[in-house]
């Protein structure tokens, strides 16, 4: 969280971790991000309902409908490897949804987890958000099962909400409350 250092100046949370860093969405990342949507549309279910929008819609949604969006860069070579953002932000009640997508080859490596915690930590420090919600497809649960049991609380399960690979999958609505755990 944001805190006062020894000389009482305000220290912002870092957007840089061991494996990744979060960079603002700049124009030169747009083609990478659009390519990610095209390659992994199901990982953008939270933004485009698992469809591939045309370029104009993609750009307008990315620039206008999201809160605190960031490109995830590899710490080693600053290569873009993913995307993370808030959506459905409601500052009136202090809640927000989050969405994240990591390149397929890096999923399950722990890199996405670090990016997500960096992002949530940053957002919780910037804005008064009490709870973060993720709408997690059943097929992704295996990757984050340990976190679901510890940091997240399952508050809902929409049965057969998603479709992929010839069958329907549940949508797990999981909540994370920063106050319950020191970020």
């Amino acid at each position: 969280m944001t805190h006062l250092d020894a000389d009482h100046s305000l220290v912002s949370p870092s957007r840089s971790g061991r494996w990744v860093k979060l960079a603002p969405v700049d124009d030169h990342y747009m083609k990478f991000l659009y390519g990610l949507v095209v390659k992994q549309p199901h990982d953008f279910h939270w933004l485009f309902s698992s469809t591939v929008p045309n370029w104009e819609i993609f750009v307008s949604v990315l620039l206008e409908r999201l809160s605190l969006p960031f490109v995830i860069l590899a710490q080693t070579d600053s290569r873009p490897i993913g995307f993370v953002s808030l959506y459905n932000l409601r500052l009136d009640s202090g809640v927000s949804h989050f969405g994240i997508c990591i390149e397929g080859s890096l999923q399950g490596s722990g890199i996405g987890t670090e990016a997500l915690w960096l992002h949530l930590k940053y957002c919780a420090a910037k804005w008064n958000i009490r709870k973060f919600y993720g709408e997690i497809p059943e097929w992704s649960v295996q990757n984050i099962r340990s976190h679901l049991n510890k940091e997240f609380v399952e508050e809902g399960r929409l049965r057969d909400h998603f479709y992929r690979d010839g069958r329907y999958w549940d949508c797990i609505i999981a909540a994370y409350t920063p106050a319950q755990r020191s970020l």
């Binding site: 009640s93 202090g94 809902g156």
Partner: protein, 180 residues
């Protein structure tokens, strides 16, 4: 103005679903911002200028109708479907009714006719209803429908000095279709 072509009904014994026209804007604005009606969750507690309200009335909406009371042919409420995902076959359903229409059977018939319209018009597998805890009494009539609670987001919304849970129900579409 009603339309009952191709066998799709938009009326019931006590109600008529009427497409929204500019003449309804005044009624709808009052309905949305009325603190007692509590439909303001669709506006996240905001009271927008009328012009902004009219411009955003169709944001994220699949379709919506004003519900007319057949007795006096006056508007009694609104039913709408929003956040629809026709690719995945689900949509949210919501509505609000003036105080005089509540507990008259008009809301439940309005929802029933509207749901029949939705299921006749689109290939929907699931219909979701969401509402904050402070709206629970208004949705009591929904308990007569075959609905299942699928989510209860704890302390999700804020109203009148406290946080309220946010509940999402699913309507069993198969049950409705088998009934017919």
């Amino acid at each position: 103005m009603t339309f009952e072509s191709d066998g799709i009904l938009t009326s019931g014994r006590r109600i008529i679903l009427e497409p929204i026209t500019i003449e309804h804007y005044e009624f709808l604005y009052d309905l949305f911002i009325d603190e007692d009606i509590n439909f303001h969750w669709r506006l996240a507690g905001l009271v927008p200028p009328k012009r902004t309200f009219q411009r955003t009335l169709w944001d994220a909406v699949l379709c919506q109708f004003v519900v007319l009371n057949r007795n006096d042919m006056k508007p009694a409420g609104l039913v709408q479907s929003y956040k629809a995902d026709l690719h995945l076959g689900h949509a949210y359903v919501g509505g609000a009714f003036i105080r005089a229409a509540q507990r008259t059977g008009i809301p439940i018939e309005g929802f029933r006719v509207f749901i029949d319209y939705l299921l006749s018009t689109w290939s929907l597998r699931k219909l979701y209803f969401e509402y904050p805890g402070y709206n629970e009494p208004q949705f009591a009539s929904l308990s007569r429908l075959p609905i299942v609670k699928e989510a209860s987001l704890v302390d999700y919304g804020y109203f009148n000095g406290r946080y309220w849970d946010w509940t999402i129900f699913t309507l069993d579409v198969k049950h409705i279709q088998e009934r017919e």
